[in-house]
């Protein structure tokens, strides 16, 4: 019997696939009509409800971590230490 060793990348990939499947579960539903999108237009359903707060958090993480990336145009760097 072959022992399965814990593989960090495999675990992360499995978690990601689980999230994607849960999220995509709704795809089977019927198309959402324009008059059914009231909740989707709410402030708390935006990708970034508070852009200033999100920008400052992203700038902080960008300064202290080795990788970055976001959906949207990237800004310039900084001399952050």
């Amino acid at each position: 019997m072959r022992a399965s060793l814990p593989c960090p990348r495999r675990r992360a990939a499995a978690a990601l696939i689980a999230i994607a499947l849960i999220a995509l579960g709704g795809c089977a539903a019927t198309p959402v009509q324009p008059w059914e999108r009231g909740r989707l237009a709410r402030w708390d359903m935006r990708w970034d409800p508070d852009p200033l707060r999100a920008a400052m958090a992203a700038h902080t993480h960008f300064s202290k971590e080795g990788s970055n990336g976001e959906i949207g145009a990237a800004g310039g760097g900084c001399g952050c230490n």
């Binding site: 959402v32 852009p51 760097g77």
Partner: protein, 393 residues
């Protein structure tokens, strides 16, 4: 005929419902998009423990202020201007020396004088509030020793009723002129260019949830080293030396789900990033937006980050012949970080007040799979913030 009459009645009811809902959604969008905002952030890093071999144990503190004006300008056009001012003080990791038993010992810089950073960003959107929009943006950041100019464009367009495509790109030119270059034998000036492309797809899953997935590609070229950091290479202290090119890719997934008519929303974000230096990272964030009586709202969130080190990272290098790039910058080491944030908001007429705090704790043991390789200098911090918004419409 009665059947047609019934259909017409149903359509009329639906159109009536749509008419009732759509203006509400538009009102929310317009109200939130025309505003003046202010944020104050107090970022404070934990002191280095155990204390440094040399230098100041007190690390960085950054006080930031952000001002934003966001307003429609004509028709479906909108302008967003943000100004940021930061005051930085404290010491930062300089290099690592080899102690007894090859134990790495961090050397910190002396406490710096106050540094300032100013940044201005502007974004002009055509088609704001519609399903098809184009945004041009520009930013300029200036410090005593660093300047960065960035230009970008983003385009969003519907592919179907349930699918929206986003594409864009940006370019930035950064120039560094290190202070005390002659005193510390640093490079006198250098620059780098960064080109970035991204694409995304957003899906309306059902009347309560949306999902977005996207890919960002970055290419950096130029001086990518840190002129303020040194490395112990075979017992000689040399400059931090990194490759002059870096390619990076990031894949992102964002999910939003509404609960109740206006009671709560769940946000889940995931990012996988990998670059040509060997850095691989996973980032997972979850936030819960809970509406409370009397126009209060509370937003707790959690974030987990894990990265694997760059190929040329080590606290110190025993064999100088085996490498031609070296860095002991902890940001390129293997570590993970957990952070928790709580944000409270209160609406009073056209005003909205917010306040919150983030606690960020990093450790090598938090990395996926764990790590016992030492990364001296890994930082933990506390960030407190307050905000004030005034809705113009």
């Amino acid at each position: 005929m009665p059947a047609r009459m019934q259909i017409s009645a149903s359509l009329a009811a639906l159109m009536s419902a749509a008419a009732a809902l759509v203006p509400e959604a538009q009102a929310q969008t317009t109200e939130s998009d025309a505003r003046v905002s202010y944020r104050f952030n107090d970022y404070s890093e934990d002191a280095l423990a155990p204390g440094p071999f040399f230098g100041d144990a007190e690390r960085y503190r950054v006080l930031s202020q952000q001002f934003e004006l966001s307003t429609p300008v004509a028709g479906d056009r909108a302008l967003d201007v943000t100004a940021t001012h930061e005051i930085m003080s404290g010491s930062s990791p300089w290099y690592v020396v080899r102690g007894a038993g090859n134990r790495p010992i961090q050397v910190m810089s002396g406490a710096t004088i106050r540094e300032h950073r100013n940044e201005v960003r502007a974004a002009f959107t055509q088609g704001a509030g519609t399903t098809s929009s184009t945004t041009w943006n520009a930013s300029y950041s200036i410090e005593r020793d660093y300047r960065a100019l960035a230009l970008g464009v983003e385009r969003s367009m519907p592919l179907s009723e349930a699918l929206t495509l986003g594409v864009g790109g940006s370019f930035s030119h950064d120039r560094i002129t290190p202070v005390d270059a002659q005193l510390f034998d640093r490079i006198e000036h250098a620059s780098k260019n960064t080109a970035s492309l991204f694409g995304s797809l957003a899906f309306v899953l059902d009347r309560n949830s949306v999902l977005q997935t996207g890919l960002q590609l970055n290419a950096e070229h130029g001086y990518l080293s840190d002129p303020y950091k040194l490395v112990d290479v075979g017992d000689a202290i040399v400059d931090d030396t990194r490759p002059d090119r870096r390619g990076a890719a990031a894949w992102l997934v964002r999910y939003r789900r509404a609960f109740g008519a206006d009671s709560a929303a769940l946000h889940l974000d995931y990012r996988y990033a990998q670059d040509s230096w060997g850095v691989v990272s996973h980032t997972l964030e979850a936030a819960w937006y809970q509406a409370l009586p009397r126009q209060w709202r509370i937003v707790p969130s959690l974030r987990y980050y894990s990265q694997q080190q760059a190929r040329f990272y080590a606290p110190f290098f025993l064999d100088p012949g085996a490498h031609n790039t070296f860095s002991s910058d902890y940001r390129l080491g293997t570590f993970g970080a957990l952070s928790a944030t709580i944000d409270a908001r209160k609406r009073l007429g056209r005003w909205e007040f917010s306040a919150g705090v983030e606690r960020y704790h990093a450790a090598t043991g938090y990395a996926i799979g764990g790590s016992d390789a030492p990364v001296p200098g890994v930082v933990s911090y506390t960030r407190a913030f307050i905000g004030l918004d005034y809705l113009l419409q």
